[in-house]
């Protein structure tokens, strides 16, 4: 089975690289909520995707989780 986001082999839909990036995106969400007081999940994903500091795999995962 191929990864949803690249050509690499995947176990449950994502390759190990995108799986690790997904964990990073998920674990950073509470930090963003705390930083801004409140933030919806989708708004967070948009922000992560747009941010120039976000890594390539994390950007791809943010778009994937948002359903782009």
């Amino acid at each position: 089975m191929k990864c949803h986001l690249c050509e690499r082999e995947a176990v449950s839909g994502l390759c190990p690289y995108h799986e690790a990036a997904k964990a990073r995106v998920q674990s950073a969400y509470p930090l963003w909520v705390r930083a801004y007081g409140r933030m919806e999940w989708n708004e967070y994903l948009d922000n992560v995707k747009r941010n120039v500091q976000t890594g390539q795999w994390a950007k791809e995962i943010a778009g994937f989780l948002k359903g782009d």
Binding site: R24, V25, Y36, G37
Partner: protein, 687 residues
């Protein structure tokens, strides 16, 4: 002494000319033997013939030479021309040295005194001179100045232990066994997976080095920034304004940052503490090769391999000492005063040497030493030819570093003011140079800037003019650049001073890493991924480091090279068996990365003329020149454009803002440059 002459073997033709000039007092005459220049002269009644290798004239190979067969554990030394058809020059030189050896009664190895030089000389004495490697004498020198060369030949040493040569030969054999087996295992796996043959290799030091890069690449690509805020205030005293940062560098929440602003606006600031201090900054230690490479990258953007090439040219011109050294120390035997006098004859350094000569000449010494050579230093000779821009730059850097190492410490005055605004604290700081010391000699490379000292005293009251709250995000980790990667390799103790730069260049050449930023490609990621899975020792640090330590023991006589070779073979045999047993999975793992790397390296972007084809890099069968062409050429699209013929073309996936043709980076030379491939791009006519 018998009737024959003394045959001197140097490492490079330029070195042979210098040795001949120095020993003959300029009376040597050039001769041609077998189409190779040699030098003949008499010295104190003795006849000398000086000849040169041109780097390694012998190399290690597999006797079977079947590129599909592995494992390969038997290796032999062969003349380089048998290993590489392009090395015809090696055959000529070996033949010349063999002819000259027949008439020689005494042999002197005058190759560079380090592992590689010893290996070059040893192989020539053993194979081309009929087993003279043990009888030959050794000339040891660190510069190619007349004084040093004459001294070296008046104090020729016997070479009995030959630890450097044995370690050098062992290193070549181990690296060959490692490289050839891994390369064949990976390439065969990829071939078995349906991809056409392409060499996929991973050398002994390349593996862990690529491992560092991949580890960092993952951190970069997975990175998710977290927001924070920075608060700064603008304060005014007697019409003069100062910016001060909030004492806490990062404010974690937006609410807290805005509260600070609200609390401070309209309130007076009081200077509650003023700390003034001075700091001494000691001179930099003399250059070893790694330090020079890092500094040249910082100052000029030169890659480590380029800096090494330049430093070698300067060495062959007798302008600087031998550059492949680990030493950061300058012993008095190099003759500080003599070098200063020489440098003083070069106009731009004259005032500095005059100043330094007024005190006792005592350089700062670094911690690292090298038994064979001192730190890199100028010889004191003036350039006898016009140096090109890069040579002049590196020469200036070496001279100034040498001068700076003799200079006194610099002193800076520092001030930090704590401003209290209610319960909040801001900090204002500045610093200025009060005594430049060594920085004067190091010039523009010192890189310190003054920041105005705030004229504020304790108890002063300042008006708070404004408070700014700035949203920031955590920065993703920086990728290694060539200099920081070199530093990492040094710190981890892998590779040698002579090989690290080449290893980095090889990783780029193999397509595992691209660009100035050393971004790991999909191919690089996949190679590390599969090797780490099936042969972890190959990519890990442990085995490579252990081998390095044992090679050092071979140099000093503490370990036999045969034992080390056998141990290495045993260590990699298990790993190769694992790779071989999983050939299909390994091949599958690298196949898709190979496909995308090959395809991605040629496709520049969509064709702006036909809108459906891809613009690709194509090589003309007739002229062998590369150019841009459309994949729809056979359907009639005639979009094409010339490309620079030198340097590597890197795709950007960006279209030109003026004409929508693809933009590429041309890598090569000092910095990569951006190019719209459309020769008629309207943006090119803009001033």
């Amino acid at each position: 002494m018998s009737d024959g002459y003394t045959l001197v073997i140097c490492e490079k033709p330029d070195a042979a000319r210098r040795v001949s000039d120095a020993l003959s007092g300029g009376t040597s005459h050039a001769d041609q033997v077998g189409g190779v220049a040699v030098f003949r002269f008499s010295r104190r009644g003795e006849e000398f013939v000086v000849c040169a290798a041109q780097g390694h004239l012998y190399g290690v190979s597999d006797p079977s030479d079947e590129r599909a067969v592995y494992p390969v554990f038997d290796v032999e030394w062969y003349p380089s021309d048998l290993l590489d058809e392009a090395s015809a020059i090696a055959a000529r030189r070996i033949s010349t040295i063999r002819t000259l050896a027949a008439g020689a009664s005494r042999f002197v190895n005058a190759c560079d005194f380090d592992v590689e030089g010893e290996t070059i000389g040893y192989n020539l004495l053993k194979y081309a001179c009929g087993g003279k490697e043990k009888d030959a004498l050794r000339a040891k020198f660190s510069t190619l100045t007349e004084e040093d060369l004459v001294k070296a030949f008046e104090d020729l040493k016997p070479q009995h232990a030959q630890g450097l040569a044995r370690a050098g030969r062992a290193r070549h054999a181990i690296d060959f066994v490692w490289g050839v087996n891994l390369s064949r295992a990976l390439s065969q796996s990829a071939l078995g997976s349906g991809h056409r043959y392409r060499t996929v290799s991973i050398g002994r030091v390349q593996g862990p080095t690529l491992g560092f890069l991949v580890q960092r690449e993952k951190e970069v690509r997975e990175f998710v920034p977290v927001p924070f805020w920075k608060v700064s205030g603008t304060f005014e005293k007697e019409g003069k304004r100062f910016n001060a940062g909030y004492a806490e560098d990062r404010i974690e929440t937006k609410e807290s940052a805005e509260k600070i602003r609200e609390d401070c606006l309209g309130r007076e600031a009081v200077a509650v503490a003023v700390r003034r201090s001075s700091a001494q900054i000691g001179p930099p230690v003399p250059f070893n090769l790694g330090d020079l490479q890092k500094e040249a990258y910082r100052a000029f953007g030169y890659s480590p391999s380029r800096t090494l090439q330049i430093a070698e040219r300067l060495y062959l011109g007798a302008l600087v000492s031998y550059p492949r050294t680990s030493s950061q120390r300058l012993p008095p035997t190099i003759n500080y005063g003599g070098i200063m006098r020489g440098i003083g004859k070069i106009t731009q350094y004259a005032a500095y040497t005059e100043e330094l000569n007024k005190a006792e000449l005592k350089p700062v010494q670094g911690a690292k030493s090298d038994p064979a050579h001192p730190a890199i230093h100028p010889t004191g000779e003036k350039p006898k030819r016009a140096l090109d821009v890069s040579e002049a730059a590196v020469f200036d850097l070496v001279v100034r570093r040498f001068l700076a190492s003799f200079g006194p410490s610099a002193r800076r005055e520092l001030a930090e003011v704590s401003l209290e605004v209610g319960e909040h604290e801001f900090r204002l700081s500045g610093g200025r140079m009060i005594f430049p010391g060594w920085m004067k000699y190091y010039g523009k490379y010192a890189g310190y800037k003054d920041v105005e000292l705030p004229p504020v005293s304790q108890g002063d009251r300042l008006e708070t003019v404004g408070v700014a709250v700035e949203e920031k995000f955590g920065q993703k980790p920086s990728r290694y650049n060539q200099a920081s990667l070199l530093e990492k390799m040094e710190k981890e103790g892998i590779g040698t001073k002579a090989t690290r730069a080449d290893i980095i260049a090889t990783l780029v050449g193999r397509g595992y890493v691209s660009g100035e930023s050393m971004e790991v490609t999909d191919l690089g990621l996949s190679v590390v991924e599969v090797v780490a899975k099936y042969a972890p020792s190959i990519i890990g640090m442990g085995l490579t480091k252990e081998i390095e330590e044992k090679l050092e023991a071979v140099e000093t006589g503490g370990q036999g090279e045969g034992t080390l070779l056998r141990e290495t073979v045993r260590a990699i045999a298990d790993q190769l068996a694992e790779l071989s047993a999983n050939e299909e999975s390994v091949g599958h793992g690298i196949d898709s990365a190979l496909m995308s790397s090959v395809a991605g390296s040629f496709v520049l972007g969509k064709c702006p003329l036909c809108k459906t084809g891809d613009l690709r890099i194509v090589r003309s069968k007739a002229t062998k020149k590369r150019f841009v062409g459309c994949s729809n050429y056979s359907s009639g699209c005639r979009a094409s454009a010339p490309l620079p013929q030198k340097g590597t073309i890197k795709t950007t996936s960006k279209a030109c803002e003026h004409c929508a043709w693809p933009v590429v980076y041309v890598m090569g030379g000092r910095r990569p440059w951006k190019l719209c491939v459309n020769p008629g791009c309207p943006g090119k006519n803009k001033p």
